[in-house]
Amino acid sequence: MAGSEPSHRSLKGDLMDKKRTEKDESLFVSGHRACHGCGLALAVRHVLEATGSNVIVVSPTGCLETFSSPYGFSPWRVPWIHHVFENAPAIASGVAAALRAQGRDATRVVAIGGDGATFDIGFGSLSGMLERGDDVLYICTDNGAYMNTGGQRSGATPFCAATTTHPPGKASFGKSEKKKDLPEIVAAHGTPYVATATVAYLGDLKQKVKKAMTLHGPRYIQIDTPCPSVWNFPSHLTLEIGRLGVNSGLVPLFEMVDGKITKVKKLRTKLPVIEYLNKQKRYQHLVASDLSQETLQAIQDQADQNIAKYGLMA
């Protein structure tokens, strides 16, 4: 490489699978290094279908950055920037400020970060961005743990799930705390649009992204992105796991406009949570143990509370 070459390169001619990608109309093309059945990669592809090409994407460190940016290659057909782990919202704020200063009003800013970057280490930065009212659509691809480093606990890890830093054992049933309710916290900043979505319902996901793109100011969409590698299920079951999460009530899908729930995805039939937990090894310790009835009931209670809170039953 040339000594003065900056750390970014043209996509042209640098793609990993030229023949395949040339035919690919997507803004996030194939050839990246995500795991088989990765919910996150699927989410990104469909998010960009909904945003269109007039966007600059900002990502924190995480799975997405790692699998999409080995130097010299890139699946991104929109300008994309990764800086460090905990500052994607502030980088996005800076990009948005620059676009305003330059009068590039048609170009929009979308941040796409994982739950570790969003719920935990970048939370202060996110809160600042929301409070300032910066014109950024922030998308959290939530797989409930630090997958890039092998599946450690985050503030988004659900109750009882096994993670490498909070594993089940003789004195532990996995994560002992509930998942942080980030959509509520984001909404409490006065954020005009907050929604949850899942890769299991791509039509719903894209509709929400499109709606967010019609609005200005901070917007937040949290997408449930099942992770076959760490949730530990066969990679062809990503969408099914996602659907089970929704239909058990554990992953409520809703839209909040100006802090008020305006729309929810109703459940046709309510599934018991065990059907969702059963299919993932991260909950195996509950399913396998006789002593876990009380814990299982606590998870069922959470699902029931979600169903009641958001009015999920048809």
Binding site: E5, H82, A101
Partner: protein, 396 residues
């Protein structure tokens, strides 16, 4: 017509920044940086500063906002001090690596613990390895002048690195001095609008901040290093151009003061150089051949200029307002490493001086010269830094 006004150092900096027409300013308050960002906020409130002024929730985000704005092609500015600069550390390394040319004022202040808000250089020195160019100033006038140059240096196509103008907290930020301002038209000619070759552009989508393995990472780091060290030639030119613009020539990457025939040369950075110059004059009147080299550009390190300025001296005494705990002061270590192995190289003694705002007055400078001469005449070379004027009553 040029205008001279008695202003606070912080106001002088804000005037220079405004004249450079930044498009994005990010600010988070910390003493003693506050008067700079407050002055810029007033200018923005009055519509004199036409920049997006982003009031962030931390220094981490201040550095991040200017990084994002710079990547998107806007001239950007922020300022901080002390703990704030340390909080920015991770961001600054990454921004240098990604070649984002914003300007930051590093208002020098001590680092905790113990907490202390007075001046020393521990904060900015702690960032010396980050890839951020560091300039140190002696006066409010020089702070004004070098901020004009800072953007031009940062944005030079062969450099493309953040530039930090380091100025002593309180002593420079809060003192009033007559400062001569350059007319806007002349500044505009000196500093044209920022037009980077690469920026986040939907018409030409590129990926920034890639993951790089060992097969290219060293070359990336070398490219940054090369941009900085070869950038010295460009910095020299820009400083000469600035001198022509302002009519004030401080002498390039270093300022040499009465060093031509000096036996003992003191080395320092920042505002303490003013006191040292007075002390040098006093000692000269007594017949002692003493001089001062003031480092203005610390990163890249100006070893060519230093070699020339220190060449004839027998003794070099470095006043380091910082310390690498467990070793010596940073400037002393740099100078020793550059003189190492040179035939006839002077003996270098490193003094840790002025931490936490402790005054380095003319008497202290005199004691430094005497101590250095004593060490030399004892014939026993010294391997540790000398901590200046420690109070024996409270030293453990």
């Amino acid at each position: 017509m040029t205008k001279i006004k008695v202003v606070e150092g912080s106001e002088a900096v804000a005037m220079a920044v405004k004249a450079c027409r930044p498009q994005v300013v990010a600010a988070y308050p910390i003493s003693p940086q506050t008067h700079i960002v407050e002055a810029l906020a007033r200018m923005a409130a009055d519509g004199e500063l036409k920049a997006e002024y982003v009031r962030v929730e931390s220094e981490f985000s201040a550095a991040s906002v200017v990084s994002g704005a710079s990547a998107a092609g806007s001239r950007s500015y922020t300022a901080s001090a002390s703990q704030g600069l340390l909080l920015m550390t991770e961001v600054l390394y990454a921004s240098a690596g990604m070649r984002l040319p914003f300007v930051i004022t590093g208002v020098n202040r001590s680092i905790s613990a113990p907490i202390n808000i007075q001046v020393d250089h521990q904060d900015t020195i702690s960032l010396r390895d980050s890839g951020v160019i560091q300039l140190y100033v002696e006066s409010a006038q020089e702070a004004y002048d070098l901020h004009l140059a800072a953007f031009k240096i940062a944005e030079h196509p062969a450099i493309m690195l953040p530039v930090m103008v380091c100025m002593d907290g309180w002593v420079l930020t809060h003192s009033y001095e007559p400062v001569e301002f350059v007319e806007q038209e002349k500044v505009d000619n000196f500093l044209p609008p920022f037009k980077p070759e690469n920026f986040l552009d939907v018409a030409n989508p590129k990926s920034w901040g890639s993951y790089a393995e060992g097969d290219v990472l060293m070359e990336f780091k070398y490219a940054i290093h090369k941009a900085m060290s070869e950038g010295k030639a460009h910095i020299r030119c820009i400083l000469a151009e600035l001198a022509a613009l302002t009519g004030r020539d401080y002498g390039g990457l270093v300022e040499a003061y009465r060093t031509d025939d000096a036996d003992v040369v003191l080395v320092a950075m920042g505002s303490m150089a003013g006191t040292i110059k007075d002390a040098v004059d006093d000692l000269r009147r007594e017949g002692k051949k003493v001089g001062l080299v003031r480092i203005r550009c610390y990163r890249p390190f100006p070893h060519e200029e230093l070699s020339a300025a220190l060449g004839r001296a027998k003794l070099v005494a470095v006043l380091d307002a910082n310390v690498s705990i467990g070793s010596e002061g940073a400037v002393g270590l740099d100078i020793k490493s550059k003189l190492n192995g040179r035939p006839g190289a002077p003996m270098v003694v490193d003094f840790i001086a002025g931490l936490g705002g402790r005054e380095v007055n003319a008497g202290a400078v005199r004691r430094i010269v005497e101590r250095t001469e004593r060490i030399f005449s004892s014939g026993v070379p010294i391997s540790e830094a000398e901590w200046l004027d420690l109070n024996p009553a409270i030293v453990p």
